[in-house]
Amino acid sequence: MQEYSYLWLIPFFPLLGSVINGLLGKKIKNEKVIGTIGTLAIGLSFVVSCRYFFQLIGDAVKIHEVVLGSWISVGHLQVDWGFLLDPLSALMIMVVTGVGSLIHLYSIGYMHGEEGFYRYFSYLNLFCFSMLMLVLGNNALVMFIGWEGVGLCSYLLIGYYFHKKSAGDAAKKAFVVNRIGDFGFLLGLFTLYWTLGTKHGIWTLNFVDFAEHGHLLGTGSMVVTVVTLCFFLGATGKSAQIPLYTWLPDAMEGPTPVSALIHAATMVTAGVYMIGRMNGLFAMAPDTMMVIAIVGAATAIFAATIGMAQNDIKRVLAYSTVSQLGYMFLAMGVGAFTAGIFHLMTHAFFKACLFLGSGSVIHSMHHAYHQEHLHDDAQDMRNMGGLRKKMPVTFITFLISTIAISGLPGFSGFFSKDEILWWSFGSSRGHWLLWLVGALAAGMTAFYMFRLVFMTFFGEQRTDARVKDHVHESPWVITLPLVILGFLALVGGFVGIPHVLGSVFGHIPNKLEHFLAPVFEHTQELHHIAAHGSSAMEFGLMGVSVGIAVVGIVFAWLMYLKRPELPGKFVASFQGLYRTVFNKWYVDEIYDALFVNPTKRLGTFLWRGFDVVVVDGIVNGVGKLVTACSTALRFTQSGFVHSYAFTMVVGVLVILGIYVLK
């Protein structure tokens, strides 16, 4: 039994950094000092995470709880400030602090000269703190602190440029949509707590206890289905799945490193993590699992279609994120928990790299436009092109990550995506339709990602002639994180080599599966969740999905490099379809008509109808009554001392009279 008592240091460092920069940053002013404090805070936490991660690998016992003290103690309700370190949370803290450190470093360069530099770093550290609490909490309430905290930080950082109306609106939208999901999370938690407590006498919010006693609810029972569906609603809000995904594309209003950290690598994966954390409960509800798989697959393909028609470089990546999150949920839904978490990890690498790469491009474009005092859109891919020679490091890392996300063999995305597709086909809870949808989405992914690469880095430079020479590679604080993340996107997949491939190359074990087994294996065995099928079948499917991806790439090459007039022709012949996809299937408009506007009308009615008439009427009425009474009474105050004295005497006499005569 080894010691894990300093686990609290991991969330503590970012909190400390946030407090220092938040309170003193305005006085410090020096960007280097502020940036160093912020980066150091998360860097230290990364060091501690590494220490415990490797300690856990060498430890025979894989699940450790560290309780700092009691938080709430009321009757049955006993909640601790407790942390839980198991392979799942250990992997997550490595991703959060590792990618987080790189993005902090990157931000020093990217946010250089921005107003409110200290505010940015304070929020970013606060976000890391919340995310680490979410991941490390040993009970649902500590997790919920993190869950709400990341939502808050997301709101603050999306609205970082709060003087822009669009940024403020996007922040509000993200917050409100997330609240809908949080509502589901809380309802699920209440139901679970209450049912376990009243029916089975187990009053607990602890994850380990959930895993141990969850079976009392009964597999497939009504209550467990309701509970898990409520939790899943929470996950759709946080992780941008249908029907609550609309906030994520708008969240691109925030600074690009924020999009990379919060809206690609970490926060949006919280829903996937939560399902992984409560895998025992979810496995007991096959109906919920089916819903999750269907929603995941639908989101994957739906977002991919939108991504194909966007011109803003960050929006393409945003829809790509939604689509990739759909894959993770598909994995969770078919019981491929390991594959889902695996994809979460590889996605964190390549998507963070893609976002940071796009940030590097935007940064450079923006500066070039700025120097020539032009007001072209620095994020519009139609203004880019031919940047590969100007920005070689950005280009190469971006290309590696694009290949990774497209799932070409050997790159990290290939291993995780193929694992998911294989499970969605072969799992006892999978279906060939799910596989088909997933494979098609993979093809679309390859198409729109290579479209992005071709439009940005290849072909003629379409920027204004005056700007061309101002576009140059970013400084090292920006390129270093790109190189590291690009490297991880290249090799990160080798920790989870599928068994069929491993056996071909001489019994290479699937290290990740082995590592995560203590968390997921029991559930999968208990509910007989496994992927069945011959290895020939698996190879065949792998070949098909890679083939689809290659077709997507070839199409992108054909349309955007070989014959650039093709997209225009295509758009001309399918105008209606193109416009629908370009306008994101009008989902925002539909939501506005169905939910937002009725809510606004209800609000207006409550304001004009109820508040102004009824509430104000009562308040003002009371006021007017008092005024009327005092208007009548004030004439008794005549200013004549004699009348006052007389009144007093009469009063005394009356009282005395009553007293005497009674």
Binding site: R634, F635, Q637, G639, F640, V641, H642, A645
Partner: protein, 102 residues
């Protein structure tokens, strides 16, 4: 039992008090009103002393000292007010001082 009993004192006190009250209500000169108030206070003092003697308790007498103190302070403040009144209006008729109203 032909001497002066406590009833006599109380009746005298009541008469003095009533005279004082009547004066306060009817007179217009502020100094006279002020003197009437003093009369009322002293009427009360008289009944305090009488009852103190009658009941054999010192409480009443102690109260009288307090009343006298208050009366002295009141005289000082009151006369000062009247001087100020007079400086402003060249009169100390209370009917003239009715600005403090609605």
């Amino acid at each position: 039992m032909h001497g002066v009993s406590v009833h006599h004192y109380l009746v005298l006190s009541a008469i003095l008090f009533s005279l004082g009250t009547f004066g306060v209500l009817t007179r217009r000169n502020a100094i006279v009103i002020f003197m009437c108030i003093e009369l009322m206070l002293n009427a009360v003092n008289l009944s305090f002393i009488a009852l103190s003697h009658h009941l054999g308790s010192m409480d009443g007498q102690i109260f009288v000292f307090f009343v006298m103190t208050v009366a002295a302070a009141e005289a000082a403040v009151g006369l000062a007010l009247m001087i100020t009144f007079y400086r402003n209006r060249e009169s100390i008729d209370v009917e003239e001082f009715n600005l403090l109203k609605w």
